[in-house]
């Protein structure tokens, strides 16, 4: 504290609380909508306080899904999302660890060429190569599969750079000691590098899990089979159906369920999340 100005401090608190209310208001409305039944959700004005239908709505959403929407039950879509997010996060971390290891600890022809090739992926987000990537995946017969959902997204320049950075800070003496003790490259990788980068792996996992869970455009393109829908794209199907019969209580319950896992990850693993975010973005 530099000076004691109680009024300004009080105003700061007031403004922060006001900011939090603005940020949280949409979520509050979502929660409230998820606790009322269909009849209440078509009466204007809509409620601002929660009702008593939360568990009924939860059960209906998880097991039956929404009538009229061409989407499977939400419980099923949540499972698909979880599998996709885990495959993307684990896949990205695994292949990035391996390539960073090769680039930092080995001298071999085309090393820099490989490095730049990985770097280029930063400049090619899915959004700019939609059609041709879709064609490749279709030709490989990977439409409507978990492989198709995850593999094309797991090349990662940011993760590779981050692990490269981490490996460069590991003292050379460790490698010398390991070699004197007769450890080969893979042994060194498994017993020294992986344990030393454990926190970085965890931090990256938090970020990548959120990234994977929130994918929208890619699943939208390559899944036509309802059994492969993820919950984030299922919301879109429900909104389309809402044009005819606005079952907002079910849509909002699904939204709530769809945002819960990543939000929980952020709140519960806050320090890892902050670490991951600041390390991957520079």
């Amino acid at each position: 504290m530099i000076e004691n100005r109680p009024i300004i401090t009080f105003l700061s608190h007031l403004f922060l609380i006001f900011g939090i209310l603005i940020i949280a208001f949409p979520i509050w409305i979502t929660f409230v909508a998820a606790t009322h039944d269909a009849v209440r959700m078509v009466q204007i004005p809509l409620p601002l306080l929660p009702g008593d239908q939360f568990f009924e709505n939860l059960k209906e959403t998880l097991t039956r899904g929404m009538k009229g929407a061409s989407a499977p039950p939400v419980g099923f879509m949540l499972l698909n999302s979880l599998i996709m997010a885990m495959m993307i996060a684990v896949g990205k971390i695994a292949i990035s660890l391996l390539s960073a290891f090769a680039i930092v600890y080995f001298r071999f022809p085309f090393r820099m060429a490989f490095f730049w090739m990985i770097f280029i992926t930063l400049m090619l987000p899915v959004e700019v190569r939609i059609l041709p990537t879709f064609e490749v995946v279709a030709n490989l017969g990977m439409l409507n599969s978990y492989w198709g959902l995850s593999i094309p997204l797991i090349a990662s320049a940011t993760a590779t750079f981050m692990f490269r950075q981490v490996f460069l800070t590991i003292p050379d003496e460790l490698l010398e000691a390991a070699r004197i003790d007769g450890a080969g490259p893979l042994r060194f990788f498994r017993d020294i590098l992986i344990p030393l980068s454990r926190t970085n792996i965890a931090a990256l996992f938090v970020i990548l899990f959120i990234y994977g869970w929130n994918q929208y455009l890619w699943p939208l393109l390559i899944t036509t089979d309802q059994s492969m829908y993820t919950v984030v794209m299922g919301i879109k199907q429900m909104l389309d159906a809402a044009e005819q019969s606005p079952d907002w209580h079910l849509i909002m319950m699904t939204s709530l369920l769809a945002m819960l896992p990543p939000v929980l990850v952020v709140v519960l693993m806050q320090s890892l999340f902050v670490k991951g975010l600041t390390e991957t973005e520079k």
């Binding site: 530099i2 300004i8 401090t9 608190h13 922060l16 900011g19 939090i20 940020i23 409305i29 959700m41 204007i44 004005p45 809509l46 601002l48 292949i95 391996l98 390539s99 090769a102 680039i103 930092v104 080995f106 990985i118 280029i120 400049m123 959004e127 700019v128 190569r129 059609l131 041709p132 490749v136 490989l140 593999i151 094309p152 090349a155 460069l168 050379d172 490698l175 490259p185 893979l186 929130n214 929208y216 455009l217 939208l220 794209m233 919301i235 879109k236 909104l239 849509i251 909002m252 939204s255 769809a258 945002m259 990543p262 990850v265 952020v266 709140v267 806050q270 902050v274 975010l277 600041t278």
Partner: protein
């Protein structure tokens, strides 16, 4: 870059980089080169014949007023999202940097929207501003304003901007707060002893010192608004009404997948790629300089 001490030559490093390189080649480099190639072709309506036309597709794009409109719209959209979310986040961060009690609690309560998918942000806002049922529509109605983003293009644009900016506040807040907390306290104290009040200190010391963070966030926000907001536009407005919210990424998707204009869509992809390359170069040059500072 390379360790002073490293392993001797073997085939092992090739095996280690293989998964990453194979995926990059199949799903990144090959499709991108396909997009480049297709952008030089024109295909007839039935996909029966293709003709190599050099830069005809690009010429067509640059004379197309719809494309020009989408470009202008994207720029307005991106800078509005960046200005709104960064402005709000900066004010919040300045306040959070000031208070000592409860700073971590405030941070927890402000950062979680980062985890909400853009599509869900869109769904929440479209629900609150639904023309017949929405709670904000009702409030606006009681002031005598009739909100209907399904008919009014400007309102649709505002809705998309609000939903996109809402989600991005968390991210900007986190980086602004980190930037402010990295400023040495002695600087602020010296200014306070010289009689500068909180506002003056913010304008003359804090804001100039966090300008690298501000610039970095501006680039990242523009990237976010250009590419990651596809989900919001797709759920909230589908580019409508009357193309009022059709941004570049949405147009690529729409022309390619719905309109099946392969050459035109590929040409748009190529232009977007150039934009990403420019933004990435700007971002990395800035990071280089930041490393020199510290």
């Amino acid at each position: 870059m390379l360790k002073r001490v490293h392993f001797g030559p073997s085939a092992l490093p090739y095996l280690l980089v293989a998964p990453q390189i194979i995926i990059t080649l199949i799903f990144f480099i090959w499709p991108a080169s396909q997009a480049l190639y297709q952008s030089l072709l024109i295909q007839d309506a039935f996909g029966l014949s293709t003709e190599f036309v050099w830069f005809e597709n690009f010429k067509e794009l640059f004379t197309d007023e719809h494309y020009f409109g989408a470009f202008k719209r994207t720029i307005i959209f991106s800078f509005s999202v960046a200005a709104l979310s960064m402005g709000f986040a900066l004010t919040l961060a300045a306040m959070a940097d000031r208070v000592i009690k409860g700073a971590t609690t405030y941070r927890t309560l402000l950062i979680w929207p980062y985890a909400v998918a853009p599509v869900l942000a869109g769904a929440l806002w479209v629900f609150m501003l639904d023309p017949t049922l929405g709670i904000f529509t009702y409030m606006l109605g009681s002031f005598g304003y009739e909100w209907n983003h399904k008919l009014n293009g400007n309102e649709a644009m505002l809705l998309v901007i609000f939903a996109s900016a809402w989600k991005q506040v968390a991210y900007n807040f986190l980086f602004f707060l980190a930037g402010m907390q990295a400023i040495p306290k002695s600087l602020i104290e010296a200014a306070a002893i010289d009689g500068a009040g909180p506002v003056r200190r913010f304008i003359t010391i804090v804001f100039p010192l966090i300008s690298p963070t501000t610039f970095f966030l501006l680039v990242l926000n523009v990237v976010y608004a250009f590419f990651e907001t596809f989900g919001i536009v797709h759920t909230v407005t589908q580019g409508g009404p009357a193309k009022a919210t059709e941004i570049l990424v949405y147009k690529v998707f729409n022309d390619g997948f719905i309109g099946l204009d392969l050459g035109g869509s590929a040409a748009q992809s190529v232009i977007l790629m150039l934009i990403v390359i420019v933004l990435t170069v700007v971002q990395f040059r800035y990071v280089e300089r930041k490393v020199e500072y510290t």
